[in-house]
């Protein structure tokens, strides 16, 4: 049984706006565990056309959510991809039907460690099964099936969102007309895993983490989560961008204080990034989602040859990387392109010149937007969608 509702009637769902899809069919996970039922929180923007050919699935990154194109319900800040998605924008809601889900394991309404385990009536915590990128995509596919969409016009996402795009294209090639993996990788590198491990250790070292059981004990490992966010945030920027923004500027003072207060602007900025993050994110979710990224290795799922993931695909691909992104560098994106070439796939690839680091995929980068727009326009024409 599948139930779809806006503003659910249970207390957890009523706290937040938006759609909830309750899937009663069991979901078999890569770990071997099964979720007997799951909830997928999602938002849509624009109108699905009569033949359901204009749907674009937006996949969010590690700490993103299903609110790319509207103010965040907790922070009130503009949607994380509001530069890209909206009326007349690249992901044009006057033209396309945008679907954004909260990933499985997330903390904005989809099933995850923060939600209630129906078997016990308590928060899942670490009893929630470990999930993978493929599991996230399986859950999303339930939603797409539910919406009656045979073929998604496009699946787009950056960073971990790009991993979901790749997984979609590999697992359900006939359901994806165009795929746009951005600033991503087909597998997590040792360095990627290392940074994630630092974040997880910061959370687990916080006494308020309570072996993952903090919700039941009325506590919150916010210090650990904030440190995890601070470390991660550095990896989203570039050295030149940090230098341009902060240099060695001091924070509201003329000289250093010979202490451990936030003397430097960059320290203050990072502390702010950390402390504002904990208001909207769940520490256990952070563990689960970083783990899902670490486990991602698309080639390993296909006999060790990445090209095998895309054999016979008819999907049109557009891969984008950014010159100063050292988290998912151009070389990782180019490896995807080479695998697609080896599979004789239809692929475009652009490396965008910017000093803004990995975060560039979230920012207003004119060249980036122009490329996406051109690619989508070309695909729309091939798909027979009306011209703008």
């Amino acid at each position: 049984m599948i139930t779809d509702r806006v503003h659910g009637d249970d207390a957890a769902a009523a706290r937040r706006p938006g759609h909830r899809l309750a899937v009663a069919e069991p979901l078999a996970l890569d770990s071997g565990a099964t979720l007997n039922a799951c909830t997928i929180a999602y938002q849509t923007y624009g109108t699905l056309n009569a033949d359901k050919s204009n749907a674009i699935l937006i996949c969010h990154a590690l700490t993103g959510d299903q609110y790319p194109a509207e103010p965040h319900p907790v922070t009130g800040k503009p949607g994380w991809w509001s530069a890209l998605a909206g009326p007349g924008k690249v992901l044009d809601t006057d033209r396309y039907f945008l679907i954004a889900t909260n990933v499985l394991g997330g903390c904005m309404g989809s099933s995850g460690p923060k939600e209630t385990d129906p078997a016990t009536g308590k928060p899942w915590g670490l009893a929630f099964p470990v999930i993978t990128i493929a599991d996230m995509v399986r859950a999303q596919k339930r939603l797409i099936d539910h919406l009656g969409i045979e073929t998604l016009f496009a699946v787009i996402g950056g960073s971990m969102g790009g991993m979901q795009v790749l997984e979609w294209a590999a697992a359900y090639p006939d359901r994806v007309f165009a795929a746009l993996p951005i600033a991503t990788a087909a597998r997590h590198s040792a360095q990627n895993i290392a940074f994630h491990e630092v974040g997880r250790q910061a959370i687990m070292a916080d006494p308020d983490w309570c072996q993952g059981n903090y919700l039941a004990q009325g506590r919150n490992p916010s210090r650990g989560l904030a440190v995890a966010r601070m470390a991660a945030h550095i990896t989203y920027l570039s050295e030149p961008a940090l230098h341009r923004k902060f240099g060695r500027q001091l924070r509201n003072r003329e000289a250093v204080t010979y202490g451990f207060d936030a003397d430097f602007e960059v320290e203050s900025y990072l502390r702010h990034q950390g402390s504002s993050f904990v208001d909207r994110f769940d520490a256990n979710s952070y563990l689960y989602i970083t783990r899902a990224c670490d486990y991602f290795d698309l080639a390993a799922e296909h006999g060790g040859v990445l090209a095998n993931a895309f054999r016979g695909t008819r999907t049109r691909f557009c891969v984008v990387s950014f010159t100063s992104d050292w988290l998912y560098p151009t070389a990782e994106n180019r490896a995807i392109v080479h695998a697609l070439n080896a599979a004789a796939a239809n692929v475009s690839f652009v490396e965008i010149e910017t000093d803004k680091g990995h975060d560039a995929f979230l920012l207003d980068e004119p060249e980036f937007f122009a490329v996406l727009r051109g690619f989508l326009d070309g695909c729309a024409q091939h798909r027979g969608l009306p011209l703008r």
Partner: protein, 221 residues
Amino acid sequence: MSAATADVAGPAGGAAAAPPLRGDLALVADLIEPGSRVLDVGCGEGELLAYLTRVKGVDGRGIELSQSGVNACVRHGLSVIQGDADSDLAAYPPDSFDYVVLSQTLQATRQPRAVVEHLLRIGRRAIVSFPNFGHWRVRLHLLFRGRMPVAHYFNHDWYDTPNIHLCTVHDFVALTGALGVTIEKSVTLDHAGRPFSLDPRGELANLLAAQGLFMLSRRRG
């Protein structure tokens, strides 16, 4: 071209009149069968690919080094990757294209011989054009001025030119011999891009051609 082939959905929408192709590109386009699979290596802003897609209904892909070129191509709906002939051809499987085009790019590659081998591994046919360093003006320039020719042939001083592997028409013919590939067709072009027919093995072609244009295949003819 019939009305039917002109109506093939192209990136430019088909309605606007096609801008005329640069002379040597028009010659390349003439060599390509309608409906074939084409890889254009060093495709610039995609003039040839757009034309072939629109007019000949080819399934076209491109490789281009410059970001501005790639962006222009992708903006116009062409499937183009940012890369170069030296590093990005190896990923393509054998026989993935009917034609691989390398127009005015061979002289800028680090390993021209390996590149030509890749072209003929990936494609059933390779179409290669390049400036002829054996042209009489180049020879006279070197002979009388004793300086590397810049002028309208290559437009760069010797120390900053991307054209690091210049060759003559005869040099290229010798390379095809060394590689054991067949010259299916050759065209010599004057400095205005006008074709004239001379045997590329002859002395006159090597002296008068500003550019050489060859269609190669693996098969020995």
